[in-house]
């Protein structure tokens, strides 16, 4: 079991601390390769089955669905490690390998308890990539990230306990929304998958990580969540609509965001939407689309984060308002960025084209026409913020006067390999299609498909040119835009002092009121009970007889009461 992919990563991350500096970066490159060999070597099946206290734990389940995720996670870990070759910070190196291992562990977990452990492990390893930035602001952001991630884990634990109570099984197969337990698990997955209103941790945390940390973060957590949704909730119709909303609303935020790494975080959210729609439709075609899109998405999103990261590494900023004209001195980074942008925009011959179209086709074939139209509109939106905004405002647009050197050699190699893969998958989709969960009979390169996609993209580009010409395209401004996380970052903290003050005031006033009442009561008691007070008087005969009659009448009534 120690040779399974997740454990290889964990062992390597532990070993890192004890080996000399110069061997660490090479070890980080070798580990994903060994892990990939392990995945292929073990082959399909349930490995590492343990029986503990009558629970059957399956540590290493390799099947048609987990295999492609395992493969792309290893590729992503390799590319991110190559990109981070220069990093000498042991914390980041250990966190990177531990995080990749935890994500692989989650994907290969065959039962909910194992999944829970890896689920939490991804949170506590990845947060160090944010802490590693080293500023107090990064610490605060990391804590926000950690709280939400751990909350997701706690919900998963609660859900799995209830699910076990209901069914007596901890196996992680199709769950469906059928009980409180499965609902809780669904919400736990939804938090990590950045469902609408649960999404803010992503845009908050990813831009705060280190240059290389963001590249690592972008690959794993959310795609592990997509995998778990595909495993547990395929065909849950609600996901179709959740996914459609996810594809649309981040576009608007991405369009006006100034920090390009946050633009990419919103764009990541939007891409997750396409995958979630695929899970919701749940047919073989749709699930193939989800897996294929996750695969190609990890590559082009890494590539985009790498190119923006390289710019940040050389210039000290990733803000669109401070950048522009960098193509002169960083042309290789620029070309790689444009390739990533074309891949995410789904231009024919790039990876996004051959994966996204599976999901769109599944939506229209299953008569989700409104959702399908949302996805078409969102596709034009992807072009606007990732396809155009990222490369255009970084490398072209107005000249910022910055003349940074080209990205370092190892970053260039990492970007070129990633860019190559984006094109390779686009030109030869058969390789990716062959590892999808179900048989693929889909042909992406039909004349009408290429034509419609080119129409959509070219006319959207034309709209961009037109809006730039007439000056209606929003300018890049040094601003932050509030999102729904305002509620817990500003709203609740801002009313807290007021709430506390009112609670204190209420407490003091009610005590004062009670004391006053008590005082008055004392005076009354003293007045009635004093030797000269009314209670000290003797009772007259009439009053005594009256009292006895009332008492006897009461006893009579009481005895007459049935069943008393």
């Amino acid at each position: 079991m120690l040779l399974s992919a997740p454990f290889l990563f964990l062992i390597a991350s532990a070993v890192l601390a004890f080996i000399p500096q110069r061997l660490r970066a090479p070890l980080m490159l070798v580990t994903p390769v060994l892990a990939l060999i392990s995945i292929i070597g073990f082959g399909t099946g349930n490995h590492g089955v343990l029986n503990i206290l009558n629970f059957e734990l399956v540590l290493y389940r390799i099947d048609n669905l987990s295999f492609p995720f395992g493969v792309i996670f290893c590729i992503a870990a390799f590319l991110a490690s190559l990109y981070a070759w220069h990093v000498r910070d042991l914390t980041q190196q250990v966190a990177t390998l531990g995080y990749a291992g935890a994500a692989l562990g989650g994907v290969f977990a065959g039962d909910l308890v194992t999944l829970f452990i890896w689920w939490e492990a991804t949170a506590i390893t990845s947060v160090f990539l944010i802490f590693a930035r080293g500023t107090p602001a990064a610490m605060a952001t990391g804590m926000r990230y950690l709280i939400i991630q751990v909350l997701s884990g706690v919900l998963l634990l609660a859900g799995l306990l209830m699910h076990f109570h209901d069914t007596g099984s901890i196996a992680f197969n199709h769950l469906g929304l059928q009980s409180t337990g499965t609902w809780l698990i669904f919400i736990a997955f939804g938090i990590k998958c950045a469902f609408p209103l649960m999404h803010n941790w992503l845009q908050d945390a990813y831009p705060a990580a280190t240059v290389t940390g963001t590249v690592v973060l972008s690959a794993f957590t959310t795609k592990m969540a997509v995998y778990t949704l595909a495993r547990g909730y395929a065909g849950t119709e609600m996901l179709v609509y959740i996914g459609a909303v996810m594809t649309l609303f981040p576009i608007f935020f991405a369009e006006i965001e100034n920090d390009l790494r946050r633009v990419l975080a919103y764009s990541l959210n939007n891409q997750l939407g396409f995958m979630v729609v695929g899970v919701g439709i749940g047919t073989e075609l749709a699930l193939n689309g989800t897996v294929a899109h996750a695969f190609s998405h990890i590559l082009y999103k890494s590539l985009l984060f790498m190119s923006v990261g390289a710019v940040l590494y050389r210039t000290g900023t990733s803000k669109a308002s401070e950048l522009g004209g960098l193509y002169r001195t960083m042309p290789i980074t620029m070309v790689c960025c444009v390739i990533g942008a074309m891949a995410i925009s789904a231009f024919p011959l790039f990876s996004g084209f051959i994966s996204k179209s599976l999901i769109l086709d599944a939506a229209s074939k299953n008569s989700y026409y409104v959702v399908w139209f949302c996805l078409v509109v969102a596709s034009a939106g992807v072009l606007s913020h990732s396809g155009i905004k990222i490369p255009f405002f970084t490398f072209f647009a107005h000249d910022s006067g910055k003349r940074p050197a080209e990205a370092p050699m190892h970053m260039r190699i990492a970007m070129i390999i990633t860019a190559f893969l984006c094109v390779f998958i686009g030109v030869f989709p058969g390789f990716l299609y062959s590892i999808l969960p179900h048989e693929v009979s889909y042909k992406p390169y039909t004349f009408s498909h290429v034509l419609t996609q080119m129409q959509l993209l070219c006319f959207a580009l034309l709209a961009f040119v037109y809006l730039m010409k007439v000056g209606l395209h929003p300018h890049e401004l040094r601003r932050v835009n509030i999102d729904s996380d305002w509620v817990y970052r500003k709203g609740i903290p801002s009313i807290l002092p007021g709430v506390a003050a009112s609670v204190i005031a209420l407490n003091t006033r009610s005590r004062e009121w009670a004391l006053k009442r008590l005082e008055r009561l004392g005076i009354q008691v003293a007045r009635y009970a004093s030797p000269t007070g009314p209670l000290a008087d003797g009772w007259g005969v009439k009053a005594m007889v009256g009292a006895v009659v009332v008492l006897m009448f009461a006893i009579l009534l009481f005895n007459l009461w049935p069943n008393a």
Binding site: D204, I251, I256, R328, P331, P404, Q455, P474
Partner: protein, 129 residues
């Protein structure tokens, strides 16, 4: 000082790859590129009337469906985002000091390096023309 050295980077000292993109500085060539894009759009639009496409969704087969959707969706998103910004934009230090928006990226994590033309010039003798 930094700015002076930046401005001294002349177009001749750029790498051959970068020189291929210098056309974006010329207004005429950018205009030409826009005409080419417009021409491409026109061709794609006309093809809709010539070729029969398969379609599943209603109206998908209407000629110009994708062209119109692309243009309008893009415009709607950009203009809508512009309106949204009016509602939600705040100064950069709005969440400070608990957010990284207003802080500079720590220098120890960076490797700022200026473009050094000399090195590159040595690497590409003869490709200057």
């Amino acid at each position: 000082m930094k700015n002076d050295s930046q401005k001294q980077v002349s177009d001749d000292s750029l790498t051959p790859l970068a020189k291929r993109f210098l056309w974006v500085e010329s207004a005429d060539k950018v205009r030409l590129a826009i005409y080419i894009l417009a021409g491409l759009c026109a061709v794609l639009f006309i093809l809709d009337f010539v070729v029969h496409r398969h379609a599943y969704a209603p109206n998908e087969n209407t000629p110009g469906f994708y062209a119109l959707t692309g243009f309008l969706a893009f415009s709607f998103i950009v203009l809508g985002a512009g309106l949204l910004r009016k509602l939600i934009a705040k100064p950069e230090d709005y969440y400070a000091p608990n957010a990284v928006d207003a802080e500079d990226y720590p220098e120890e994590g960076l490797n700022r390096e200026e473009f050094a033309p000399d090195e590159i010039v040595e690497n590409k003798p003869g490709s200057g023309s």
